[in-house]
């Protein structure tokens, strides 16, 4: 059974890391602009073993060294942060650029909005950044404490560009915050509130699954011309270890990633749940021997095979596992493309089910009349894809999320967070339908 540490989804070798799909090297982009070429995608590039907090620290360090306007701030940031993501940055870049704030989340985010709104003469950002103000990288110590800043994010940051007709923006703002459960955080240290942000048009929400992803997606978020809330799954800070390229690179926002290809069921997830889905898929092929679970799996797969009678099918279903990565705006076309093969959909996350990301995706898949078909042949016809996805479904969409309780109760945490066996059950239910 794979743990987070031994997950096959993590890049354990330099070669795997450098071949990360969609990776964009900063020097390659500069070369392209200059019409020169230096390093190829893999030769001459180094990687280093990092856990997630080290990868985030590395990204912050690159952001600070490549852009003089960049500042990093938040509660307890100067001594390294409670999760060590800013360790040594104050010493390296000075307290004017890396500093503690008083304990006020609305103050922290509001400050970032103001800084990002100012056309900055300091900026010499190498990537993106044109027409952007100062680069403000704020930290909210736990996402559970982001609510005093929600007004700032929703009523100021998300509306800044829109209400000024594009004259002003706070695209330089990135708000980092630890999210999700570690298993014993209780009501105020275990929440996954991304669902509350789904209606905040103008903001982006990003949740990485690993060190390599965290570095690339964080640098993307920092350089993206839109304000981004970057949520870091806490349990991965130490447990997820990967070979991470040491140079400057980005991974695209708004793009989901297919982690394992399959043709029988699409599983969409993000953050910590990625690993639980991997474990559940492992259980599907390796149920604990001699247990009721083994019989349950056998029976369900028997039903699945019977339902596929007459079709050319293997004896075990293959699962397409998708990491959403960007939650808002998320990559619906990729989900629909996957569904056009699998016709079955399971969505997994820790946050509450009602109003959550899963229900949003389920709703988007099923509301085919919400998009007008395009006549532009170079564009994907998302409207048609939505209608076909819905009409092609072979089972109801299943969403496995946290329960609709007001938070994650400490004593019940193990039965709140969707774990591998609950996800296994979801896989079986959708497959055998």
């Amino acid at each position: 059974m794979p743990s987070i540490a031994s997950s096959a989804l993590l890049k354990h070798t330099r070669e795997q890391a450098l071949k990360m799909p969609e990776i964009v090297w900063a020097d390659a982009e500069l070369d392209e602009a200059r019409g020169t070429s230096s390093l190829s995608s893999t030769t001459g590039r180094e990687t280093r073993k990092m856990n997630t907090y080290q990868a985030i620290r590395d990204a912050l360090s690159i952001a600070l060294s490549t852009n003089d306007s960049a500042i990093v701030f938040g509660e307890d940031v100067a001594f390294g942060g409670v999760f060590r993501c800013t360790l040594g940055l104050a010493e390296e870049y000075g307290r004017e650029r890396v500093f503690n704030t008083p304990l006020t989340e609305q103050g922290v985010v509001g400050f970032g909005i103001g800084y990002a709104s100012m056309g900055s003469k300091l900026g010499n950002s190498t990537l993106g950044g044109r027409g952007m103000g100062g680069t403000a990288i704020a930290e909210v110590q736990f996402v559970d404490y982001i609510w005093p800043a929600f007004d700032q994010l929703l009523n100021e940051a998300s509306k800044f560009r829109y209400r000024s007709g594009g004259q002003f923006n706070v695209g330089g703002l990135t708000v980092r915050c630890p999210t999700m459960a570690v298993g014993h955080g209780g009501l105020y240290h275990s929440q996954s509130p991304e669902g509350f942000f789904m209606g905040a048009g103008g903001l982006k929400v990003v949740i990485p699954r690993s060190p390599l992803q965290a570095k690339g997606l964080l640098l993307s978020s920092i350089r993206d011309p839109n304000p981004v809330v970057f949520m870091e799954p806490k349990v991965l800070y130490r447990s997820a270890v990967e070979q991470v390229p040491t140079s400057d690179y980005i991974l695209p926002l708004g793009r989901a990633e297919i982690l394992t290809t399959g043709s029988d069921l699409t599983v969409v997830t993000y953050g910590t749940s990625v690993y639980r889905c991997e474990q559940a898929i492992h259980l599907l092929t390796h149920p604990p021997e001699g247990t009721g679970i083994e019989r349950t799996v056998r029976d369900a797969l028997g039903d699945w095979r019977r339902s596929r009678k007459g079709q050319n099918t293997s004896s075990t279903p293959t699962i397409e596992l998708i990491d959403l990565r960007t939650i808002l705006p998320y990559d619906l076309p990729l989900v629909l493309r996957s569904l056009s093969k699998t016709h079955r959909l399971l969505i997994v996350h820790e946050g509450p089910t009602t109003g959550g990301v899963g229900m949003q995706i389920a709703g988007d898949v099923m509301s085919g009349f919400n998009t007008t078909s395009t006549t532009n042949e170079s564009e994907e016809d998302v409207g048609r894809m939505r209608r076909e996805a819905f009409l092609g479904l072979e089972a109801p969409v299943k969403v496995i999320g946290g329960w609709d309780t007001p938070g994650v109760a400490l004593q019940y945490e193990k039965f709140y967070i969707p774990d591998e066996v609950r996800i296994l059950d979801g896989l079986l239910e959708v497959l055998a339908y």
């Binding site: 008083p102 304990l103 014993h184 329960w403 066996v421």
Partner: protein, 373 residues
């Protein structure tokens, strides 16, 4: 033409302006005296070089300061105070170690042992005025006040400012008690505020305020008693800022020597120890001695261990409690559905899935309450 008009009007303008200076006198919305020299200020004491004084009754050796008016206090009450104060470090020591052994997930230390309780303060400072207003409106509790405890870090939240503003504007009897222990996790108070502590904010909201030596339990007692009296009499909030120093780590997740010197902490413990100061005070009155100290430590240790053992062996509530107390009244369909879903899953996998089987044993009825449904 314009020039002619203005020269004609000049005497009239002069007359109006001299009249208005006299008749205006005060500005709208304030009774401020009028001055003709610019006066910037940055102090609530009236002198920017002078800090808000701190109220102290006994010195480092427990001896009352000259002219100190000690609060009314008999031997029994003094002993009770001391015993409660002494409980906190004992509790800290034991639970800190217990956490290190992995028996509890997290512990937040209570030191320094001020006569205060811990709370989750960030949101509560906002709710206290409403609590106090409800007390005011309850005839049988018109003599009661709300007490709101928080640290200097929590006082940076907008909630604190909103709480003070409402407690004074909509007169509400709250005693706000700030424990300024110098650190909010790693952030020293020097980076938490630039003004004269938390006390300086009280007058801004029209609130009677006092700063106290928080390591002097007698000064805290006297100040809070007086605060309570004012609170009841005026029906308005009072702010007490207790100055102290956090000798413990913020919590079991914190290693404070990453941001302050160990020697600084040890010095503090030795030089200005609230327990030692009060103990010396009691000893000079013959209310306490080494034997009492030894007995107390033994008793506290036994009490804490007994309470911990009892808590440790107690099973958790039924797993179904996960879904209770979400709403009063009719339970909505989604909660019903989710309770049933968990029951179905437990029935199907509870025996066979080892992590669940182990976890279920911790609950009363081991999850059967959900399976039955």
């Amino acid at each position: 033409m314009l020039r002619r008009a203005s020269s004609t009007l000049r005497p009239l303008i002069n007359r109006i302006s001299s009249l208005s200076t006299r008749s205006l006198g005060r500005l709208p919305n304030t009774q401020s005296p009028i001055v003709s020299k610019p006066h910037f200020f940055n102090s609530v004491t009236g002198d920017s070089n002078e800090l808000i004084p701190a109220f102290r009754l006994i010195d480092g050796t427990g001896v009352p300061l000259d002219g100190a008016g000690l609060p009314e206090l008999d031997e029994a009450f003094a002993r009770k105070l001391y015993e409660n104060m002494q409980l906190l470090p004992n509790l800290d020591n034991i639970l800190y170690n217990v956490q290190r052994q992995g028996k509890i997930s997290f512990y937040m230390t209570a030191q320094p042992p001020l006569p205060m309780t811990m709370s989750r303060p960030q949101g509560k400072t906002n709710a206290c005025p409403g609590v106090a207003y409800a007390l005011r409106r309850s005839p049988e509790r018109s003599n009661s006040v709300a007490a709101c405890f928080f640290g200097e870090g929590a006082a940076s939240e907008g909630d604190f400012h909103a709480g003070l503003l409402l407690a004074s504007t909509i007169p509400s009897p709250v005693v706000f008690i700030a424990r300024n222990n110098g650190f909010a996790i790693s952030t020293p108070s020097s980076e938490q505020y630039h003004g004269d502590g938390i006390a300086s904010r009280g007058p801004g909201y029209g609130i009677d305020t006092i700063r106290v030596d928080g390591n002097d339990v007698l000064a805290v007692l006297a100040a809070v008693r007086e605060a309570r009296t004012r609170c009841v009499e005026q029906g308005r909030a009072v702010l007490v800022e207790c100055m102290s120093y956090r000798v413990g780590h913020h919590s079991t997740s914190d290693d404070s020597f990453a941001y302050r010197a160990r020697s600084e902490v040890e010095d503090r413990k030795r030089i200005d120890n609230p327990l030692a100061r009060f103990r010396l005070f009691m000893e000079t009155r013959g209310w306490w001695d080494a034997q009492a100290e030894e007995e107390l430590k033994t008793r506290h240790r036994a009490d804490v261990l007994k309470a911990f053992k009892r808590a440790e062996t107690q099973s958790r509530w039924e797993l179904g409690e996960l879904f209770t107390d979400i709403y009063a009244g009719e339970e909505p369909w989604n909660i019903k559905e989710q309770r049933k879903e968990l029951g179905r899953l437990l029935k199907k996998y509870g025996e066979d899935w080892e992590p669940w089987r182990r976890e279920l044993q911790k609950y009363k009825n081991e999850g059967r309450d959900l399976i039955k449904e």
